[in-house]
Symmetry: C2
Subunit: 118 residues, 2 copies
DNA sequence: ATCAAGTACCTTGCATTACATAGTACTTAA
DNA sequence: TTAAGTACTATGTAATGCAAGGTACTTGAT
């Protein structure tokens, strides 16, 4: 969702909204409370968004690379250390934009549904 | 959204919902009233879903191939003939499934948004 | 000590999708 | 007959979701 220079491209947000949509709920989850991959998977599952490791880890890497999120290592008592992800300032801004795009999309689609049901 | 044998794969619906999302509004538009590509583009634009020819035509071809839609040729008074698309029975069934998946997704995402905003 | 099981993170290759771009073909009007 | 408008099609690229397989750390049972 970012250009090669790292800037956030607003025009791409709506395009992506119709394609890779997953970034949005992941940003929401991380934004609500910093956490690590397996917990994000759990929360997505609770939200009926079934995602697998092979999808989430590359997504987190991409978001780290484009500086929407960052992480700190945290020791665990039941296994290897964890990467605790949190939103950057840029991530918060991006989330605002995506949320706006989502609401617009939501309204538009629900309008089309009503038309269809008539 | 269909398997190689042409059957509709329910499991894939939710996956696609997070990826190629566009099929849904296009099915809604065609389902509301049979029409042709340039008009579909107009309706999508009115619904704030900016799509270009290069996206829509291949999508229509895919949906024709998987028998969600069909078309009849219709003469035009202002140019070449038009392919008027309409839903098949399978298309109507698929649309029901997709609509259900959409409503579920809609609810889930809006719940995540509320969590984030707290 | 050693080994199995659980946990956490990462990588590769594939199918699918959206898009930009360019092209073909029909119709009408200058 | 030529140009402009309309409608449909084809090709190549980047991005995404996913299956599958792999590495590495920790704990607990043998």
């Amino acid at each position: 969702m970012t250009d090669s220079d790292g800037t956030y491209n607003v025009a791409k947000v709506e395009s992506q909204m119709r394609k890779g949509f997953l970034e949005f709920p992941v940003l929401l989850i991380i934004g609500t409370k910093p956490t690590y991959a397996p917990d994000i998977l759990k929360q997505l599952k609770q939200a009926n968004l079934l995602v697998v490791e092979g999808t989430l880890y590359p997504l987190l890497s991409r978001m780290k690379r484009s500086e929407l999120v960052t992480y700190v290592w945290e020791e665990s008592k039941s296994g290897p250390p964890r990467k605790i992800y949190s939103l950057t300032k840029a991530g918060e801004n991006a989330l605002e934009l995506i949320e706006t795009a989502w609401k617009k999309l939501d309204t538009s689609v629900n309008k089309l549904i009503k038309q269809y049901e008539k």
